[in-house]
Symmetry: C2
Subunit: 319 residues, 2 copies
């Protein structure tokens, strides 16, 4: 069995390989070549354990994620995860991976796919709202898929934004990275705007004139009571792209917009449609909203496993 | 994170520690100090993936078991398993264990508990029907809880029985182990009879006179269409002891007997009642039927984890 830890998860695939893996996952999704049972939620007190299995042709995998909201008070991450990857034919367990790192890395890649298929090819400015792990990863992938020269950052806590920028600058030497004084300034200056917060209210000004012509990538809100986008964005959209149709139930950014008829159900479109056609949209204003699904995890995990064996990365143990 | 492989799983706890662990699990069961969500079945073609989480006070664990019926044709085990044990407070993954070995070992211990609480203390003869891994483990635990001097073995395949005996004799030097020509001879000669087959029909003669005064431990049948015990056994029973009330649905040995009113629902009794009282029953004819449950796995896993840390057993990895 091959163990891939946090560091190995981040190093085994190149950004390009990760993006290709997610394109393959979306192609599988469109073709229906997978089996993804409903995920299982187990609650115990305030804590939640999510079990997310998915079967592809050659493999199956189960991501186990625990969410313990009290952890940050003890200086621990609120989310821990493990990924078990199995041989699809025999069922033998092939790999154990750090599930939190896998999730972060593949979510970065999915954001990258959103940018690749819904934003102008020559976009050279982007803004990041939210300076956690996910904001960081999104920035790295954004700069791989678009020739970003200017990157804007906003966080309610100025000190967090500054720390984020100094860390990010080391990874993106050719990019001019600047903090904004508020979200309005960030949206004004950026062609692509990526949100990666856990906000329960819009983190973008509710101003159609400001939003027109902009390209939004929503990463943060993953619950029906969370949302990051304002009401005036939706009437500007032709389609609302999602990574999975489950987004209609799972995130307030889609569920609430549907409920308030800001957008019609028929406009909600899986990004897999664009990926399969191999043709980015050229809509003037766009939104791609990601919530994640087990298929994306298992496809990324199987790519990592295969590549790790080739590169001799990870720890082999006899189980 | 601590990895415990097959060999380590079999060596980390003594038989006595394993039996104590299962007594503690049954005490938790009786007290209700646990949370065991319904297990999740995911089917993909002929293969099944079972996800079995359970929360106790200090830990939670998830056993992932895959059942691939075509494996034996390729000389592979049909069942593979992984156990992930987590810290109950933070959710951090603490250990990965070989789930097949964990299941086999704890099922042996559960059978041992059945013998301890439902058979005469001085029983010195036992019979094993079925010579797989589970028959082997049951024999070892049986000889720990009762002063067994004579052990009888029956398998439809004589050669398998002989191989089993020669392997078992090395572990049980003081026990006289013999093969029987049929199941009738085995039941005649044994006070305790352990069945560990995957049969879909009774593996014991349907003869009340033969069965009277005998003590049966049912390990094999774990599906509604499987059973090991004959109709004439049930009217001889005062109670039918089970490791979990789910046995009423999960095994033909209980489900079919209830359906055919061979036994009344009120007679089906969790063994945890006896364990909590600390008082073995002294019924003249008895049946204990085990089907297993996630609580037993997680309690065994947490004992193994704690003891492995003390004894410095296993492989520590950074995940």
């Amino acid at each position: 069995m091959l163990i891939l830890n946090q560091k190995e998860i981040w190093s085994v695939l190149s950004f390009e390989e990760a993006l290709t893996a997610m394109e393959e996952a979306f192609q599988l999704f469109e073709a229906g070549d997978f089996h993804m049972p409903d995920r299982m939620h187990a609650h115990h007190g305030d804590n939640t354990l999510l079990l997310m299995p998915c079967f592809t042709d050659q493999f199956f995998g189960t991501k186990l994620v625990s969410v313990n909201p009290e952890n940050p008070k003890k200086n621990l991450p609120s989310i821990y995860g493990s990924m078990i990857l199995n041989d699809g034919k025999s069922g033998e367990a092939l790999s154990l991976m750090n599930g939190a790192a896998l999730t972060a890395f593949r979510t970065g890649a999915v954001g990258g796919i959103g940018i690749k298929y819904t934003t102008p090819e020559n976009a050279d400015s982007a803004g990041i709202i939210g300076t956690g792990v996910q904001g960081f990863t999104q920035a790295l992938f954004a700069c791989r898929v678009r020739p970003i020269k200017k990157l804007y950052v906003f966080d309610m806590q100025q000190s967090k934004a500054n720390e984020f920028i100094s860390k990010l600058q080391k990874k993106l030497l050719d990019v001019n990275i600047k903090a904004c004084i508020n979200n309005r300034e960030l949206v004004e200056k950026s062609q692509i705007i990526i949100t990666a917060t856990t906000s329960k209210q819009a983190v973008i000004p509710d101003d159609a004139e400001l939003l027109k012509g902009k390209h939004f990538i929503g990463i943060g809100s993953y619950k029906p009571d969370m949302h990051e986008f304002p009401a005036q964005l939706y009437p500007l959209l032709n389609k609302l792209y999602v990574d999975t149709p489950f987004a209609k139930e799972e995130t307030g950014d889609v569920a609430t917009a549907l409920k308030e008829t800001l957008i019609d159900d028929s406009q909600v479109t899986p990004i897999s449609k664009l990926v399969t056609l191999g043709k980015p949209t050229n809509e003037s204003t766009s939104l791609f909203k990601s919530v994640g699904m087990a298929l994306l995890d298992v496809v990324m995990a199987q790519k990592m496993y295969t590549r790790a064996l080739e590169l001799n990365i990870g720890t082999k143990i006899k189980i």
